[in-house]
């Protein structure tokens, strides 16, 4: 049975739509701008990251159109170089890193652990404004010329280019602070605000993964911060810390940069795994096969993820010994992902599997994660990386993880929790159509890029020899499908906000903890009574309790 005590009065009436909810509890723009409600902050992040995603997607489409022909197509080399830089910076710092933790983590993490807010609500609001400030500074840089360094900001190119690299660096630095603040908040929340009865081994797997993400955010982001500051100082003032002419070492920059940016990959994929763990349990109507293995593999990824940054430096001039050390350590991080994949699959065994849109995304996710993840292992196999490093193979690999992994999970989360967040359901038919479009378009876009990488086409190429032409055309065609898919989703979700069918508190009949409250949740999450947790999440073995019980009567704090 769900996390409410067995003593629910049978007469409890659960409304289909909670009229007085967090959305209309206080009215007016000002109440939104000054809100400390974690749910409203999640919704604000949903709006902001969607704008960022649209902008980044626009740049992606322009890049693909430019690559439609071997020579110049629609823009100059200078514009193209700015485009892929902005595409990378926006998608990573403004969308990928904040998206799932800041939208769904903010919204559901406190609800899942029975808290009425995150530990530091005002800090949480501050993170939104820091995000806006960072985006603003980066936008200033974009409008005043943009930067043409790629999102990796490799020195000495980034310190000698004539473009506006300093504002972009500062923007990314500020966005990092926003990420740190969120991470600190989540860790403190999980440590101190779990409701009575909710021990660590009863935490939903979503919470475990987000917690692991927060650890990486807190420990890795400061190193990126200082690295970007050093580049900015050198570009702006000529202090020469990475300048070879003054004895600086560009490879040191790469070490510092990837010490953040490799774990950052896990900042992006761990929340996706968080979502998938919830989705698979709900739609298979099963408890997670190997709860502890999945929970601890999240921490394992967070920990081992810090040991592998050097596999981005195999061809950079790093020592052979270091290449060996990083090569072997990189193999271990794949294991934790393998554990998760096997356990998710095994969860379906003897389940009761319902094929809904979130589950369609789960299927896509599973395939893409295995393929993308194993090509990552292939890339970490030292001698193979020599050929693939900085080619389209790498581009295809990380898009398989980022788009095929994170965005699939993001869309799964969006569909899965849409009824809880807004009280209305999306149209299932359109949901499946767009899911199929996106999965097909995704394959058509990125599988040719694997082959291009094998052929040897380096990344960040404005023009290319004619033998790369046919595969580039295929890739561009696929990206068009992808764009259509996203467009359809945006439209039907917006329509469903007003016209969708009322969802009720638990449309999926899930035993996840977030479904015990009303849809949309009240401003204080649970109404007058505090929830008490008895069972593990997704415990489907008890007799069906009928409609989801309202939170039970308050139990005095005891354990």
């Amino acid at each position: 049975m769900s996390p409410s005590p067995a003593t629910i009065p049978p007469s409890t009436e659960v409304p289909l739509f909670n009229e007085r909810n967090y959305l209309n509890d206080k009215a007016g723009v000002w109440s939104w701008l000054t809100t400390v409600d974690h749910k409203r902050i999640g919704v604000m992040y949903l709006v902001l990251t969607t704008i960022a995603f649209a902008l980044g997607g626009l740049f992606a489409m322009l890049i693909r159109i430019e690559l439609l022909t071997p020579g110049p197509t629609i823009m100059s080399a200078a514009t193209y170089n700015r485009m892929f830089t902005l595409h990378g910076v926006i998608m990573i710092f403004l969308f990928m890193i904040p998206a799932i933790p800041n939208i769904f983590g903010n919204f559901f993490l406190p609800i899942m652990i029975g808290a009425r807010d995150v530990a530091f609500p005002r800090l949480n609001l501050a993170s939104v404004y820091i995000y806006l400030l960072g985006a603003g500074v980066a936008l200033y840089g974009m409008i005043h010329g943009g930067a043409d360094t790629g999102w990796t900001f490799y020195v000495p190119y980034s310190t000698t280019t004539a473009t506006k690299v300093v504002p972009i660096l500062l923007g990314a630095f500020i966005l990092g602070m926003s990420s740190i603040v969120t991470g600190i908040n989540f860790i403190a929340t999980v440590h101190t605000l779990r409701a009575p009865g909710l021990g660590w081994m009863k935490l939903p797997l979503f919470v475990w993964s987000i917690y692991a993400t927060a650890i990486i955010q807190v420990l890795a982001t400061p190193v990126l911060g200082i690295t970007l500051l050093l580049v900015a100082v050198e570009a702006g003032l000529g202090f020469g810390i990475f300048d070879p002419a003054r004895g600086g070492d560009p490879i040191l920059f790469q070490h510092l940069f990837w010490f953040y940016s490799h774990p950052a990959v896990y900042i992006m994929i761990l929340p996706a795994m968080a979502v998938i763990s919830e989705v698979v349990c709900t739609f298979a109507r099963k408890n997670m096969f190997g709860y502890k293995a999945v929970a601890f593999s999240s921490l394992g990824i967070a920990f081992v993820g810090f040991f592998t940054w050097g596999h981005h430096l195999f061809t950079s001039g790093q020592s052979t010994l270091d290449a060996g050390v990083f090569g072997v350590l990189s193999m271990f991080v794949g294991i934790f992902t393998a554990i998760k994949v096997f356990n998710w699959t095994a969860t379906l065994y003897k389940g009761s599997v319902a094929f809904r849109t979130p589950f369609a995304y789960f299927c896509g996710f599973l395939f893409f994660l295995v393929f993308g993840g194993m090509t990552g292992i292939a890339l970490a196999t030292v001698s193979l990386d020599v050929h693939w490093q900085d080619t389209y193979f790498v581009v295809a690999h990380f898009h398989f993880i980022m788009v095929g992994g994170t965005i699939m999970a993001y869309l799964a989360a969006l569909h899965y929790w849409w009824p809880k967040m807004f009280g209305r359901t999306y149209p299932e038919g359109w949901g499946l159509v767009s899911a199929v479009l996106i999965i097909l378009g995704f394959n058509a876009t990125f599988i040719p890029q694997f082959l291009l990488g094998n052929m040897g086409m380096p990344r960040r190429y404005y023009s290319y020899p004619p033998e790369f032409w046919p595969l580039n055309v295929a890739s561009t065609a696929g990206s068009t499908l992808l764009a259509f898919g996203f467009g359809i989703i945006l439209i039907y979700l917006l329509i469903s906000l007003k016209h969708g069918a009322l969802a009720g508190p638990n449309p999926w009949h899930s035993r996840g903890f977030e479904w015990i409250t009303l849809s949309p949740p009240p401003a204080d999450n649970f109404g007058p009574v505090n929830p008490v947790y008895i069972h593990q999440p997704h415990d489907y073995q008890h007799p069906e309790p009928g409609p989801v019980p309202a939170p039970g009567p308050e139990v005095p704090h005891a354990s």
């Binding site: 440590h191 021990g199 660590w200 300048d243 002419a245 004895g247 070492d249 010490f259 020592s319």
Partner: protein, 151 residues
């Protein structure tokens, strides 16, 4: 971690009265260690040894501050773990990066005496002055260590 809402044993320990004399003792110890590290530095021990001693003293001083001024002695639990984890990852970053510098192809390290000896034989196409095309105008040519100038 104990149940979230119950004050843990550590917190109980933290709230009991700590005598102020403890702070003064730590303070005197810190001053004494500062004096010692300066004296040791004056003695000009061997190159590596002096560094090791100075760092050991600094680590001792740092631990005193963290344990007693920052109350990790009394609090502990998650807080200790946070500090230890951050220091662990810092050592990891420092260690593997230094390992790289120490073991890479020697000429891939920034110019040192070894690199200077390796100027290419034959005609010199490698000096920045010859093809001034790409030299960044904001930096002077790498004068300190341009290999060819050392021939």
């Amino acid at each position: 971690m104990a149940m979230a809402h119950v004050p843990s044993a550590e917190e109980e320990r933290a709230s009991r009265r700590i005598p102020t004399s403890r702070y003064y003792i730590v303070w005197i110890a810190l001053l004494a260690l500062t004096a010692i590290t300066i004296l040791v530095a004056r003695m000009h021990l061997g190159h590596g040894f002096g560094l090791v001693v100075a760092l050991l003293i600094a680590i001792t001083k740092g631990s005193l501050v963290a344990l007693f001024f920052m109350h990790l002695w009394d609090h502990g639990g998650a807080n200790r773990l946070v500090l230890v984890t951050s220091l662990f990852f810092l050592c990891l970053l420092l260690g593997i990066t230094l390992l790289d510098n120490a073991s890479r192809f020697p000429l891939t390290n920034p110019p040192n005496t070894e690199t200077l000896r390796w100027s290419p034989p034959g005609p010199d196409i490698l000096s920045p002055g010859v093809g001034a095309h790409g030299t960044s105008s904001r930096h002077e040519p790498p004068r300190e260590h341009a290999p060819q100038e050392q021939q």
